[in-house]
């Protein structure tokens, strides 16, 4: 048991994680490409047009995975934040900072594609639907996290402060979601409900799942790339980074 623990912490050191991440990145890019091509192929070529929505619905192959990812990445961020606070490992904070922009990107994509979907479906770019509103607030939370980390010069302090914010955010997300739902049901007349999912053909579901996997792989690849850059930047004065850079020239 203790042996395994030591092994885990070995990978928590940037010096050992840097080359490991470097070896993993091409694999995740490859998987992202494969799943992406497969998912889009299924989504655009094989899946039938929707009975009510025609071809326009196909944006869900990006919209739904983006929404999933935006929520999931916040959880992963909070997980890294908690680990960083509990074990004081440098890598955890770096992972949280590396994930935040990707999470924010997916939240933004989800809103954007939601608007593009909404226009042909309900004739309006934006409705104050519970899900859209929650997604918007999630985007605010991501932006707050990124802004806080950007404003603090000392990276250690930035990590810890960001970690506390991420944990406070993750406790609050269910409360916010619940309150927005409550608000939405009270003002029912003002909005169109998105919750009535169109009955989905099996092919549609497959396309969506493949696209979700592609987004997943893409997130991991990008986060690893970003974490490698953060490592180099933060540890630029350490021997291992110097040796690495010297070897490259």
């Amino acid at each position: 048991m203790s042996n395994r623990l030591i092994n885990w912490f070995r990978y928590a050191s940037p010096q050992t994680f840097y080359p490991l991440a470097g070896r993993m990145i091409p694999w995740f890019w490859g998987l992202a490409a494969i799943f992406g091509v497969a998912g889009l192929g299924v989504g655009f070529l094989l899946a039938p047009a929707d009975a009510q929505q025609g071809e326009g619905y196909r944006i869900i192959f990006l919209h739904v995975p983006a929404s999933w990812m935006s929520m999931f990445i916040y959880l992963v961020m909070a997980f890294w934040a908690a680990t960083g606070l509990a074990f004081n490992t440098r890598l955890s904070g770096m992972m949280a900072s590396a994930l935040a922009p990707t999470g924010a990107l997916f939240a933004f994509l989800s809103l954007w594609t939601g608007a593009l979907w909404g226009k042909p479906m309900w004739g309006t770019w934006w409705v104050w639907d519970a899900r859209l509103t929650s997604e918007l607030i999630l985007l605010f939370l991501y932006i707050g996290f990124i802004a806080l980390q950007a404003a603090i010069d000392d990276p250690r302090r930035a990590d810890k402060a960001g970690a506390i914010l991420a944990l406070v955010g993750v406790v609050n997300i269910p409360i916010i979601y619940f309150s927005v739902q409550w608000w939405n049901t009270l003002h029912q007349g003002a909005s169109v409900s998105l919750t009535r999912a169109p009955s989905m053909a099996a092919m549609m579901l497959w396309g969506m799942l493949l696209c979700a996997l592609a987004c997943w792989m893409y997130s991991i690849a990008v986060a690893l790339m970003r974490v490698r850059v953060i490592m180099l930047e933060r540890e630029r004065h350490t021997d291992w980074v110097r040796a690495l850079l010297a070897g490259r020239e």
């Binding site: 000392d154 540890e235 004065h237 350490t238 021997d239």
Partner: protein, 216 residues
């Protein structure tokens, strides 16, 4: 009683000191010297548990201070670079509210006596913002008169003080050491303390200060 082993301090990308160890017993004082930026204040903040050490350990009565937590803090009196004096309050209100926050309430007579000793009697009802730098420092140091906690950590206690006040503070520290207390203080000037043993530690190793961080 207070023991530091292999302390390392890193600020930003600079390593201020490393492998710093010392031991302090009751009745002893550690006088920290060194030029600006050598890490004196950082070391004091480490000793208080405000800043974690990059590596190494600090023990109080044989146990790491991180574990002791409140138990350690209840035996510690810290006087920082800033006075921790509220400008809006009078010296008397300041000393009373500080004591109340430290959960060691002081009656007004004792507080007035302390202010008299540091030479602020007659100013006790004047808001601190009207006091001079030296008088503010005196108001902050008035805390020490009735302070009976065993470990004093003082950052530049003599700064902004005149000669008489410096002697007075040295006297307070001496009396504290005589009672078996410990003191750690930073200073730029050598001031004789009437009682107790003084150890000196100079953080002036240019090599260490210049040394860039080498993490493994």
């Amino acid at each position: 009683m207070l023991e530091a082993s292999n302390l390392e301090c890193v600020r930003g990308e600079r390593r201020l000191f490393a492998d710093l160890s010392f031991r302090l017993e009751g009745g002893e004082m550690l006088a920290l010297q060194g030029r600006n930026g050598s890490g004196k204040t950082s070391l004091l903040r480490m000793l208080c548990g405000l800043t974690p050490a990059a590596s190494g350990e600090i023990r109080w009565r044989g146990r790491p201070i991180a574990q002791l937590g409140d138990e350690f803090r209840s035996e510690l009196c810290f006087l920082g670079h800033q006075n921790a004096i509220k400008e809006e309050l009078t010296p008397l209100e300041n000393i009373l509210s500080t004591a109340r926050l430290a959960q060691e309430p002081l009656d007004e007579d004792a507080a007035l006596a302390a202010l008299e000793l540091v030479g602020l009697l007659g100013r006790e009802d004047l808001a601190c913002r009207y006091l001079s730098q030296g008088q503010k420092r005196r108001a902050a140091l008035a805390r020490l008169v009735n302070e009976r906690r065993p470990l004093w950590v003082l950052d530049e206690p003599y700064v902004a003080l005149d000669k008489a006040a410096i002697e007075l503070v040295a006297g307070l520290v001496g009396a504290h050491l005589q009672r078996g207390g410990l003191a750690v203080l930073t200073t730029h000037q050598v001031v004789a303390v009437p009682a107790g043993r003084v150890r000196e530690l100079t953080l002036d190793d240019d090599d260490t200060a210049q040394q860039r961080l080498r993490a493994g």
